[in-house]
Every structure is written in structure tokens, then in C-alpha cells.
């Protein structure tokens, strides 16, 4: 309370920096001689400040427009102008008709949805234990997760090659234990290997907002619920889960967008039959030099991920995250 009143007290004299508005107001009065009196002066005093502030926005926006928006616009333009002539929608027609595109679209979507569901389930479980069944070293684990986020995603696939590869750790243990020639783990080059890698890599992205939300949860609520006889499962379902829904929604939609756009994990898997949209763009542009087709796939990818990202912004705004 004293802080707020103090701030209010300093706020009143603050707009008293009148030097600039007065100077501009003179120009304004000269420019608009018919209008006189106090009201237009206030109007002119406010407007230039807003205009000046808006001007400060221009340089970074101009840079962004030049290096990001203009290239994106060119991609869209190129998707409508195939290099070897033809109609505007020819590239779209041939890409949409190709089986590889439809397959890649399907793979991308189900992988992203599956990985997001897995991340939410796993992240919620792990964050729940870190926050509410604390153990010595729980803080260190939370810090480890922050570090984990700063590593590139392809490291996970590289590690999985050693763990579940044909001559890797898991198969080695299996053959040692049961004396058979070959182990049963050969899912790495299938979509399931990509799914496992994506769940591993993206779960921390769900855990971070969840841990932040849990730390703000009033523990008295849990004590009261427990005191009234609620069992842990019921407390989780009826107290913790509703409180953490915004964080889950925000983290989940971020992970969904990132999974749709993931490239490193799929590239390192090296599986021929796992093609996602980013892989298809890379293949068309770099390996086949078919830029028109690559641009068409890119436009589809942009449409999906930007649409979902808009949703994430709306959900995140509502969650206050």
C-alpha cells in the first residue's frame, strides 16, 4: 500500500516535463491558427509524444521487415510462380497430389499431437513429484532441466542411437541376459523413435511453466483438502489440476508448435520412411533443388504453425503466462 501511494505521488509531477510539448504546441498553434484555447493545446501536447514514441518503433520493425517478412513474402510469391512457367496454382496442385506430401502431413500432425500428449502427461507427473513430494536434490533436478533446455535437440537422437540402436545398450543387455543373437529394440528408425526423442526433448518445456505455477499454489489449500480427508489422487484431480490448467495449456500449445517444426531430431534419425513437413522442405529445396515445391510445402507449414501459435498467444494471454 505505501508503495502504491508513493508511486501515485511521483506520477503526478512526472508529466510536468513540459519543455518539449510546449515547443511543439507553438508549432501546432502556428500550423492551425483557427483553433485556439486550452483544449487544442492539450491535444497537441499529447499527440507529438505519441508520434515520437511510434517513430522509435520504426527502426527495429524496418529491420525485421527486411530480413524476415520480405523473405517470407517472397516464399509465398514463389509458391505461386513455378520456375518453368505454368499457372499460379500448378505447384500447389502437383504437391497436393503427391503421396509423399500427404504422408508427410499426416506423419507430422500425428507425431506432434502424440508427442504433445506424452510431454503433458510426463511433465505433469514429474513436476508434481518435484513440487509436492520434494526430496533432497529436487532443486538440483529443476536446475538440470533448465540446462537441458539449452542443449540442441539432435543430441537426444544421437544418444538414442547408442541406447536403442541395433548394437546399442538395450539390445546388448538383452542379448547378454537371454543369450539370444539379436535384441528386440529396433524401433529407432520408425516414427516411434522420433516420438520418444521428441517427448524426451520437449517435456522440460512443459515442466518449466508447471513448476512456476505450482510454486504459486497456496499450500494451505492442499493441507485443508488433506485435513478434510481427501486422498492424494483426489487432491491432484480436484485442487492441483484445475489450478495448473492454464500452465498446461500454454506449455502444451508451445510444445505442439515446436514439435510440428522439429527438424534436427528427424534428420538425425536418418530413417527414410519418417518424413515430416520440415524434412520435406529440406529435401525439396536442398536435395532436389525444386524451390517451387519447397515453397508450397513451406506455405502449408507456415499456415499450420502460425495458426496454432496464434491460439497459443490467446491461451497464454488468458493464462497470464
Amino acid at each position: 500500500m505505501p508503495d502504491a501511494s508513493g508511486r501515485a505521488a511521483t506520477q503526478n509531477p512526472a508529466p510536468a516535463g513540459p519543455s518539449a510539448p510546449v515547443g511543439v504546441a507553438v508549432v501546432g498553434r502556428a500550423g492551425v491558427p483557427a483553433v485556439a484555447g486550452a483544449a487544442p493545446r492539450g491535444l497537441w501536447g499529447a499527440a507529438p509524444q505519441g508520434v515520437r514514441r511510434a517513430l522509435w518503433v520504426l527502426p527495429p520493425v524496418a529491420v525485421l521487415a527486411l530480413v524476415f517478412l520480405y523473405p517470407l513474402a517472397l516464399v509465398v510469391q514463389q509458391s505461386f510462380t513455378p520456375e518453368n512457367g505454368g499457372g499460379a496454382f500448378d505447384a500447389y496442385a502437383s504437391v497436393f497430389a503427391s503421396a509423399s506430401f500427404r504422408e508427410a502431413l499426416g506423419t507430422t500432425v500425428w507425431l506432434a499431437v502424440g508427442a504433445t500428449a506424452g510431454c503433458l502427461l510426463l511433465g505433469f507427473t514429474l513436476a508434481l513429484i518435484i513440487a509436492f513430494v520434494p526430496f533432497p536434490g529436487a532443486k538440483a533436478v529443476a536446475r538440470f532441466i533448465d540446462v537441458f533446455l539449452s542443449f540442441p535437440s539432435f543430441l537426444i537422437t544421437l544418444a538414442l542411437l547408442f541406447i536403442y540402436g541395433t548394437v546399442g545398450m538395450a539390445n546388448g543387455v538383452w542379448t547378454d541376459l537371454f543369450g539370444v543373437a539379436e535384441g528386440p529394440f529396433r524401433f529407432l528408425t520408425t516414427p516411434w523413435g522420433v516420438l520418444l526423442a521428441e517427448i524426451t526433448y520437449f517435456t522440460p518445456f512443459v515442466m518449466r511453466p508447471l513448476l512456476a505455477a505450482f510454486s504459486q499454489l497456496d499450500t494451505a489449500q492442499l493441507e485443508v483438502a488433506a485435513g478434510l480427508g481427501a486422498r492424494p489422487a483426489r487432491i491432484v484431480r480436484q485442487v492441483i489440476l484445475p489450478e495448473s490448467l492454464p500452465a498446461l495449456a500454454a506449455g502444451g500449445s508451445l510444445v505442439l508448435v515446436m514439435c510440428l517444426n522439429e527438424f534436427g531430431i528427424v534428420l538425425f534419425t536418418g530413417a527414410k520412411d519418417v518424413t515430416t513437413l520440415p524434412m520435406l522442405i529440406y529435401g525439396k529445396a536442398i536435395l532436389e533443388s525444386d524451390y517451387a515445391a519447397a515453397c508450397v510445402v513451406a506455405v502449408v507449414n507456415i499456415a499450420i504453425s502460425v495458426g496454432l501459435f496464434g491460439l497459443y498467444r490467446v491461451v497464454g494471454k488468458r493464462a497470464g503466462a
Binding site: 527495429p60 524476415f68 514429474l126 513430494v133 537441458f148 542443449f151 517444426n261 534428420l267 529445396a285 515453397c295
Partner: protein, 265 residues
Amino acid sequence: MLVHSKGGRWAAWGLFGLLFLPLFALPLLVVVAASFATHWSGAFPSGPTTGNYAAAVRGESLQALTTSLVTAVTASLLALTIGTWAALAAAGLKKRGKRCLDALFMLPVAVSSVVVGLAVLVAFSRPPVLLNGTGSIVVLAHTILVTAFAYQSVSAAIVRLDPAYEQAAASLGARPAHVLWRVRLPLLLPSLTAAAGLCFALSMGELSATMMLYPPDWMPLPVRVFTATDRGSLFGGSAVAVVLMATTLLVLLAVSRVRTRASYR
């Protein structure tokens, strides 16, 4: 707190260990173990050696390391400049203008890095600006990708800034530029260094856009890891990957030390 019985607590911890260790701890350990090995067929790696590291800090790999460092530092500094400028300018706007700028500067997060790479390739392989085949096209793409994160963390910090300081400075007659330089930026310094660390880490590990763009003489570390493992040299690739992780961690550690020193002021 949630589970009061001893057995239940141990069950929860057991579940945690069962999920956490194989999924998160094991991958990193395995990569480190593989980087010291020459052979892995069976439960454990064999043929301990430091030869992979000798190769990882020499010749092409060393060049890749310096390329990555130059790219990451340049891209982080550029992104920090643009992102901080935009965040400071956005803070002065009205609500709707700020929301527009937020959406605009967060857009690169939503667009796939591969698409950013493709777009940069398409736009800067033609006049008036020809960058294709130079290292600067990689730096440019990295800058685009990490600017969003710089913008996001700096604007989150600006919201938390107590306006009393700058109002006090302004009421004492300080000009806006002076307030910005002597009051707001020093107060923002901890989050600026944190943002710089984040940008650096992201740029060090960036693979997707780089794969679309890199010229033969500008190959960053992640691409080097990929080409090594793609040729079947998994152990050499692991050593390069460990060098990449260690470098990122060292820089993050250094940056967090700057942060603690700044917060004493």
C-alpha cells in the same frame, strides 16, 4: 506434503527415478561415455580413448568451433540490440500497439526454422542483396531466429521494472536519453545478460536453418556433428557434441556470474 505416508513417498520417488533417469540423465551420460570410446557393441562402450577429443579440437572441428562461436556471438549481439530496442519502444506504446509489436516480434518462433532458412535463401540469393555462399547468411538467419527470445525476455523484464526510478530521474531534470542510459539499461542489465546467454545457447545449437544455408567454408558445430555421424563416425561426432555442450555451458556459467555481480549494484 502431498503424500504423508512413508511408503507412498518412496513410491513417488521411485516413479520419478524410473522416469527421470532413463529419459533425461541417461542420454547425456551415454553421449559423454561414447565420446571416450572407440567401440560400442553390447551393454557398455569399450576401447577407452581420448583420441576423439584430440580430433575434436583440431583441423575442421576446431574451425567449426570457431565458426560457431563467431556466429553465436555476432547473432546474439545483433539480436540483443534489435530485441532490446524493440522492447523498449514497445513499452512506450499504447496497449494495442504493444500487442501488435509483440505478435510481430514473436512470429519467428512460430515459423519453422527450416522455413526461415528457405526464406532467407530465396530472398538473399538474388539482387539487390547477394549473401548466398557467405558466412553472413548463416549469421543473418541465426539473428532472425533468436531475436524473438531476446525481445521476449527483455520485454518481460521491462514490465517488472519499477517506474518510480525513471520518474524520479525525469523529475530531477534528466533527459530521456540520460534516463535510458543511466537508469533503465543498468536496471535491465541482469535480464539483458540472461537474454544474451539464452540467445547464445540457441544459436550454438541451431541446426535446421543452418542446414539450409551453410556454405562449405562456414560450417558450424551442429552441422559438423551431423556430417560426422552421417558418415558413421558416431564416436567422433559424440566428442564434437560434448565440446558443443561444454562450450555452451561455460558461456552460460560466465554469463550468470556477470548477472550476480550486476545485481549487487
